[in-house]
Amino acid sequence: MDAIVAREVVKRYGSTVALDGVSLSVGAGEVFGLIGPNGAGKTTLVRALTGTTDPDEGEVALLEESPRSVGRDRIGLLPQAFLPADRLTARELVAYYAGLYDDARDPDAVLADVGLTDAADTRYEDLSGGQQRRACVGTALVNDPEVLFLDEPTTGIDPAGRRALWGLLEDLAACGTTILLTTHYMEEAERLADRVGLLAGGELLAVGTPAELIDEYGGESRVEIETAGQSTGADAADAPQLAADAAPLDEYTVEVRGQGLVVRGVGPREIGDVVDALATASVEYESLTWAEPDLEDVYLNLSGEGDATSDSRPREAIAGGDHQ
C-alpha cells in the first residue's frame, strides 16, 4: 500500500508556479527524502500532502484518503520554521499537543525520545536552538503517527543533536512509520531515506535510492589538486597546466582552474597516476584530495545550483605538502 500518493499536482501562487505536475508515491513504512534548493516547492508539496493547502490541479491521497479526511491521529507534522508558543516548558509544550489527541503518548516518553529529559522543565525560549527544534520534533511524535511529515527537522541542530534525531527517526522507520522529510543536508537524506526525490523549480527532477541517483547523476570520482608552484623555475601560474600536460594524465579528463586542477575519472587505485604526473612536471602542491560522487553532486548537477566538482565534499584527503 502506498501511504502517500501525489498525481500531477499543480499549485500556483499568482503567476508563480510552486508545483508543476509533481507525481510521487511513498510506500507504507518507507522513508522518503525530499531535497531541493530554496523555493523549489518542497514546503508547498508537504502542505499539499498534509491538506493544509489545496492543489490547483492533480490529486493527493494520504493513507488512501484525501488529506483532510484522514484521521488526524494518524499523521504528524513538523512545519518548516515552526515557532510554538513560548513561555511554556518543554514538557508543557509537548503535553499541550498530546492533549489534543485521545490516545497520546506520555509526554515524558516523547521528551526522552528527543533527548530532552534533562531540559523538560526549561521554558522553550531558554532552550538552545537545537533543543528547541528537538522539542518541536517531539510535538510531531505525541500521537505516534503512521505517517510523519518533517519539513527540515534538523535545521539549526548541532551535529550531535542531529545524529541523535537521526537515530530516533531510524527507530521510527524500523517500527513501520512512514516518513517524508525535507532537508538541505545531503548527508541526512543519504543516511535516512530509502528513496530521495529532487525537487527544483516546482518539478520533481529525479527519484530513486541514493545509490541509484548517485550512479546516474553523480558524475565521476575525481582528484582535486591545489598547486603551490613549480620547482624548476617556471612561472608558478603555469604549474597547473604543466601538470595537466604530463603524460600520466593522458587517459583522464583534466580541467585547470586557477591555481588548481581537477582530474576526473580517477579511481582510488589510480591516484598514483596523478601523483606521478605532478612529479613528472615537477609541480609542488598544497593539497591533493580524492572525492567520489555523492548526493550533493546529484543535487548540484540536477538543480543547476553549482558545479559538481567545486562544491563537492571530499571523502578522503590523500596528502598535503610539496612534491620535490
Binding site: T53, L88, G99
Partner: protein, 247 residues
Amino acid sequence: MSRYARVRAASGAAWRAFVRRRVAVFFTFFFPAILVVIFGALVRTGAGGTGLFVREADYYVAGYLAVVVLQTPLSRVSSEVARHREGNRFEKLATTPLTRAEWLLAQTLVNVVLVGVAAVIILALVTASTGASPALSPALALAVAAGTALFCGFGALLGRLADSQDGAITAANAVGLPLLFLSETFVPPVMLPAWFRPLLSLSPLTYFSRAARTATAGEGAGIALAVLVALSVGFFLAGALAIPRTD
C-alpha cells in the same frame, strides 16, 4: 469528552503562556484601573459644572466595562492569530484534531476569565471612587462573557486580515478607538448629531453598552442582551472560519 479535552489543553496552554507575560498581565488589569481613576475620579462631572461628564456616575459604568470587553479580546486575539500564522502554528494545528472553532473557543475562555477579573476590579473601583452603585446580576455576567466572545471573533477576523503582529495591533486600535466612543459608552447619544445617532446601532459594542447599562441599573438586560448574544455567536463563527490554515 474529546472536544472538552482538546479545548482544555489549548486554553490551559494559552493561559499559562499569558500569565507568564508579567508586563502583559500587569497592564491588562492596570489599564482599566487607571481608566477609572482618570475618568471616574478626576474627569467626572463636579460641582459647579466642572468636568467632562454630563451624566450621573452610574451611566459610565458600562463604558468602563466596554473598554476591557472591547480592547482586551480584540488586541489579544488579533495579535495571537498573527503570531500563530507567523510561526506556522495553524499549519501544525490543522493536522491535529483541534478544530479552528475549538482553538478560538479556547482563546475566548481565557479572555472571558481575564475580562471577568478586570470587570470585577472595575466594578470595585467605580463603587469605591466614583459614587456609583452598579447592580450585580447574571445578566451582567452574561453580557460581559458574550461581549468578550464577540470581540474574540472580531479579533480573529482582524488577525486574518493583518499581515503581522504589529499590523494586527494597529488594526485593533484603529477599529477599537472609534467604536469605544461611538457606542453609547462615554458619549451619550444626545451629544451626537441627530443624523449620526442611527449609526450607533451598527456598532456591536452599542449592544454591550445597552445591556450592561440596564443590567447595572438592576433592570435586567432585555433585548440588547439578546442581540448581543446573537451577535457574539455570529462573530465567533465568522472568526473561526477566518482563522487560516496555511495560505
